[in-house]
Each structure stands twice: as structure tokens, then as C-alpha cells.
Symmetry: C2
Subunit: 399 residues, 2 copies
């Protein structure tokens, strides 16, 4: 443990050391059962209690209303990019059996690499027409970068789409919707029909459990891979409103695409996330992380700490991006000057500050400030950055 | 560790204690990186080395030829029940674009609960016609039980099916194909076309890495969930012949069903099992288990030990089932006599012998003898059974 580094990785990312130590105990002997958590039956009463507690901890802290189920799945956020299309098109088919595929719009809000990937999957799967409600690149400095969240007047939604998709935080590009309704870069909930069960789908993979989810109850589906804030890779959480847990087989009889059984929310819901053997270790670690969150004051506490961490880090950057659209979770910036980026990374490593290289597709520096990164660790990084800026004449740190 | 029980669970099931201890080290600090295995980037060179070594250890021990890729996926065996249908129907579509769906046969060999489940998923998904090549229930004592593997003359294959499915070991029912070609209850490879690339798909979930796979090279796909012999739940291994890694999007343009991107073998293959974040802990544990296997003499050693374990256990049962079709991995039997089963389970628990209850759908006793169950542990169970039979007058132990 002593030689652990400070890990600013974008995911898989840091986990709390106390949780890892507890996990080790559970791997050898889970709650006195004589078996490790990976060895116990997923149908045992002990495992059922674990699942129930994990669900309750998510439900309480995020204030998930009883209208919404919490499902545990596999396949990551990428798997959900398919599940949401298949299930929401099935729902639309059941509601409007007589429409042709070309009349089933799927509205996508495109603000970065992940929402772009979501569009590609919807186009691959077919069964409806992808409609780009807004593309942030049109509002960028160079007309091709994901460097902003568009303001409310930029959106153009379809009248009755099968789904409306957005990605709340773009991990690669470092942009995030404001969670303050009054901000011009919040998600434009007010533009959507107020009287309907909105088919609103949000990818929360990289910001889940980092702060409250605004208008959670208005969402059809909120999903997240675990490997940012709450656990190891291999677990996916989906919060699904009951009316979106549809009989996909009935929809298929009406002409919708068949849905692989592990991707049908109804299967997962009907069998309480135990249709087949779940990813037991990731679930265990997530249960420990969520319990630790609760013990430390819950989401409110994390919201405050995460806000401070992001503010401190952005304050250390000389030319910050538009303040309201910048991500709390993934701080992306450049170190200007010949060879300066490499020197920056090297100097950080010498201080045990690791995994700060930007995503291979965009380069630069990326600092991820997920829940397990402490305020003290953030302070250490900020101190290093200030030191670097002061010492390295030609370099400027810029978002 | 001291208080660990002897775990005969059917999956999730026992893991070697030395592997669990090593896993704990890696969870805190993986190979001196300063990060735990769940925290390190899946695109790091350290993780790439882990994956490569895991693949090599599977390839060498199972003698997987270069014609076959080894893919790491999520979703379990249940996810593969969909993947095989979608990918193999896409392949059939590319080979025979002009056939109608009703001309695309999918041959299923039904020998137990899992192959029955496979049939149900193929029927759900559609795009072809499910043809039952044989149903073991027709050859059972009571015409409705999965208590046998049919003999070779019982099979009826379609002329050019899109896939031929069998489940090598039925975990719930305790029947397994013999791996001796000369046995009447081996899989009838000799009945299949010799000159073709067979569309032969095998579910090896509960026997993978327990003994060699006969005619491995003749298979299109062999898949297995990790949680029996090689690791924790959440990892799925698929061995796929290159001609079955098809362009599913091209097939979709010809009318095949669209394939969710995480279920397309081509995506997984093209991106070396890193299309999206893989289940890093299950992969890590599997890599340790496979390395331990290699260190202990490889698959040959396990084959010998597993054979002895099964023989000893079956010898302790008074009325064994047809010897050749009984499973090495899951030994299913009844304890006859009023209240005897409960007494048997209780007495076993008193000797720290746990998780021996049969599957909720069939009842009785089930002893799973996966790789991590040692010969000594099997001996302890056998000694207990002999003691129980000797002491409990009215009880007989019967398969």
C-alpha cells in the first residue's frame, strides 16, 4: 500500500484504499460464510442482502423515486448504447404499432466522443431514424472540436421521438452539462414536453454518484459503467422508469427488432438482476464504495468536495475554457511550449502523480477527479502545477 | 483463511486460495505500478501483457490452433446464447444471401436445462428455424428427464444449418458428453460433413479447462463463462474460428438482424478484446488461475485429477447413472429416505462441506468438482458419504 501512487486515470480509475483492503477480506471469506465473495452463490441470502443494500444506497443517495427500477447489468456503457435503442424502439413500437421505421425518430444530443459513439450505434442498429438534435461542433472555436455545451436555443427536438439521448459528462473532451437549470449550458429540460413520460436517456458513466442528477425523475433511462466513481469495470448500472421496461417479445411480434435476452430490461427487472450470474466482485466493491459514501455524509458531501476539487484545479490553469461547460470529473488542458507536455508528465511522475496523459484521440493532459481522488491529492497536483508554471518560463497551462 | 469451508458450489464456485491471496496483492498494487489491477488503464502495457499471457496460457494448454481466435467478453454464457445466433446467422446470410429465414436451420442438441435455454433464445431471436437435432428427454427413463446423453443413432442433423449447438456439460442435470470418440455417448462428430467448415458451436461453460476439448479445431465457436473452473463471474471466453468472425453490418445490409456492437465477434476481435473497458478483475484472476494450471503441469494434470475425483465420488454412490454420460464436474444424486436429504446436508455442513444442495429446479444433491476442488477435499466428502451410508440405515445414495 505504501508505494501506491496518486492516480488521476480516466477509468479504470482510483478506488479508495480502505475499500480495496475490505475487498481483500471479502475475497478470502465473505461475512463469515467460509467462502470468498467470488465463490459464494449469487442466489444465497448473503448475496441477496448485498444487492439489496447496494440498491438502497444508490436509491437513497440519488433520490431515485419508486417509479424507477435500479438494474445491475454487464457490458459497460457501450453495451447500453445498444440496449437503450433496442428497448426504447420496442416501447415506441408498442405505443405506435402502425408507424414505419422512418417515422421513429431517435434524437441524439452530440457533445463529445461518447455521444458520437452513441449515434454510430443507433445508426448501425437501425429500426428508426437518427436525428441530431444538436451537434456541439457547430458551436466550437474551429467548427470541429467538442469544446462546448451548446446553449438552449441551439436544440431542435423531434415531436415524438422514440428516445432523446445525451451524455452528461464527456470523459474524453472534458465538457459537462451544468446541473444548474439557470445556466445556459444546462440540459434544456424546459424545452421538452412537460405532460409526457419523456423518452429521455442519459449516459452518466463518468459522473454517476459524483453529484445529484437534476430532473432524475424525468428520465426514462440513466446508465453508467461502474469504473469511474463506484467500482471496478464489469458492472453497469441502469436506472429505468417502469414504462420503459417493456415486453420486447411482444414488440418483436409487431415488427420491432429482437432483443438479446441479456439486453432486455424486462428480463433483468423480472429476475432482480439475477437472470444469469452477475459480476459478483464488481458488485461487491460497488457495495463497499456506496456504503462508504453513505458513511461519509452521502452524495451531498461528495458534491461539495468534488466542486472544490474542480474549482481548485481550474484555478491553476491559465486559460480556462468557458467556465460553465467544463467537467468536474475530467479536466482536459494543454501544456504549451516545445517539449513542455513531456516535462510536465515527467515532473508529475517524479512526485508520484500518475495517469495524466490525455486520451489517445485528443492528446494533451487529462486529470480525472473521480470520487476516490481526495481533496488533498488534488491539492498536491495543484501545488505541482503552480510550481511547474513558476519554474518553466515558456510554458502556459491552458484548457 | 483458516475458517474457509470446502465449497462444492456449482458456480460461482471455489477458487484456489493461493490465487485469492495473489489477487489481494494485485488489488492494492499491481506489479509495482503503484495502482491496483482495478485501477490501472486497460490500455496500459502492463494490462496488455496480462491479456497476452492469459491468451497464451489458454491457447497452449487447450491446443487452440491459429485458425481460432480467443476473445474475452462480458455477459456470461447467457449472453453467448444470443451472440452465437446473431453471428452465425449473419455468416449464413453472407454465404447464402438468397435464402429465406425459413431456410436457415439452426440445429440444437438438447441434453439439459442449458441447451433448452439455448433453444429458447434462438426461438426468441428468430431469423432462422430452430431444428431439434435430438432431445435427450425422449430417451430418458420417464420421457421427460434429462438423465442421459443420446446414442449416435438418435441424431438428425439438417443438411446445411447456420449452426449446430450442443452443451458439453449440463451443470444442472449432471450429464456430460464422453470425450472418447469410441463411446456411444460422445458427440457424434463423425456424422457431420467432413469437408466443410462446420458451424459447430459448443457451450463449455462448466467444463472449460477441466480436460481437453475433443475435435476443438472442428468447432466454429466454443464459449464459456469463467465462473466455474477459471475465475470469477463477469468474464466470458469465446474461441472463434476466423471464418465465423464476419462483417455483421454487411450481413445486415443483406437482411440479417443487426448485432449489438458488444456482441459482434468482429468488433471484439478487431480490437483485441478492448473495444470497451473489459472486466479487469475477473481477467486478472483468470490469468492467475491459468498460470497456476501451467505451473502444476497444465491441462493434462487437471484431466487426471478430475478423472480420479469423479471416479471416487461416483464409486461412493449406490446406484450410479449410466456410467458414460455422467458429468465429471457436477455429480447429481438423491439421498433416499424420509428426511434423509436434510440430514445429509446438515451432517456435511458439520464437517465444513458446503454448497451441496441441488439446483432449485431439480432438487436433490449436487456436488461440483471444478478444478479448484482438490482431490483431498473430494476424499473428505467421500469419507463423509461412506460414513453417512453406514450409519443412516434407511438412506441410500443414488444418482
Amino acid at each position: 500500500m505504501d508505494t501506491r501512487c496518486i492516480n488521476f486515470g480516466a477509468g479504470p480509475s482510483a478506488l479508495p484504499p480502505s475499500v480495496l483492503e475490505e475487498t481483500c477480506k471479502g475475497l478470502l471469506n465473505f461475512e463469515g460464510t467460509g467462502m470468498g465473495i467470488a465463490e459464494i452463490s449469487h442466489r444465497s441470502k448473503e448475496f441477496a442482502a448485498l444487492l439489496a443494500k447496494l440498491e438502497a444506497n444508490i436509491r437513497t443517495q440519488l433520490q431515485v423515486p419508486p417509479t424507477h427500477a435500479i438494474l445491475f447489468m454487464q457490458g459497460g456503457g457501450t453495451g447500453q448504447l445498444s440496449s437503450i435503442v433496442l428497448n426504447m424502439l420496442a416501447r415506441h413500437r408498442l405505443l405506435h404499432p402502425d408507424l414505419g421505421d422512418h417515422e421513429r425518430a431517435m434524437d441524439y444530443v452530440v457533445t463529445g466522443a461518447w455521444s458520437k459513439k452513441a449515434v454510430a450505434e443507433a445508426q448501425r442498429l437501425g429500426g428508426g431514424v437518427v436525428h441530431i438534435a444538436v451537434d456541439a461542433r457547430l458551436y466550437s472555436k474551429d467548427s470541429k472540436s467538442f469544446d462546448n455545451i451548446p446553449t438552449h436555443d441551439s436544440y431542435n427536438f423531434s415531436p415524438d421521438p422514440a428516445l432523446i439521448f445525451y451524455c452528461e459528462n464527456e470523459t474524453i473532451d472534458g465538457v459537462q452539462f451544468s446541473y444548474d437549470d439557470a445556466s445556459p449550458v444546462s440540459f434544456p429540460f424546459h424545452l421538452l414536453k412537460k405532460d409526457a413520460l419523456l423518452p429521455l436517456v442519459a449516459d452518466y458513466s463518468s459522473s454517476f454518484m459524483s453529484r445529484p442528477i437534476p430532473h432524475l425523475a424525468d428520465h426514462a433511462i440513466i446508465f453508467a459503467g461502474a469504473q469511474k466513481n463506484i467500482g471496478p469495470a464489469g458492472l453497469t448500472i441502469a436506472i429505468v422508469r417502469q414504462d420503459c421496461i417493456v415486453d420486447v417479445d411482444a414488440a418483436a411480434k409487431l415488427g420491432a427488432a429482437s432483443v438479446p435476452i441479456t439486453m432486455a430490461y424486462k428480463t433483468i427487472f423480472d429476475e432482480a438482476s439475477l437472470h444469469n450470474t452477475p459480476p459478483v466482485i464488481p458488485l461487491y466493491v460497488a457495495s463497499l464504495v456506496l456504503q462508504r459514501m453513505a458513511d461519509q455524509g452521502g452524495l451531498k458531501h461528495y458534491e461539495e468536495v468534488n466542486k472544490r476539487k474542480a474549482e481548485k484545479l481550474y484555478a491553476a490553469i491559465e486559460r480556462p475554457r468557458a467556465p460553465e461547460a467544463r467537467s468536474w470529473m475530467n479536466v482536459v488542458f494543454d501544456v504549451l511550449g516545445e517539449g513542455a507536455e513531456a516535462r510536465f508528465i515527467e515532473g508529475a511522475a517524479a512526485q508520484n502523480l500518475k495517469t495524466i496523459k490525455g486520451h489517445r484521440s485528443v492528446g494533451g493532459i487529462r486529470i480525472s477527479l473521480y470520487n476516490a481522488v481526495t481533496e488533498e491529492e488534488t491539492d498536491q497536483l495543484v501545488a505541482y502545477m503552480e510550481e511547474f508554471i513558476a519554474s518553466a518560463e515558456p510554458a502556459a497551462i491552458k484548457v
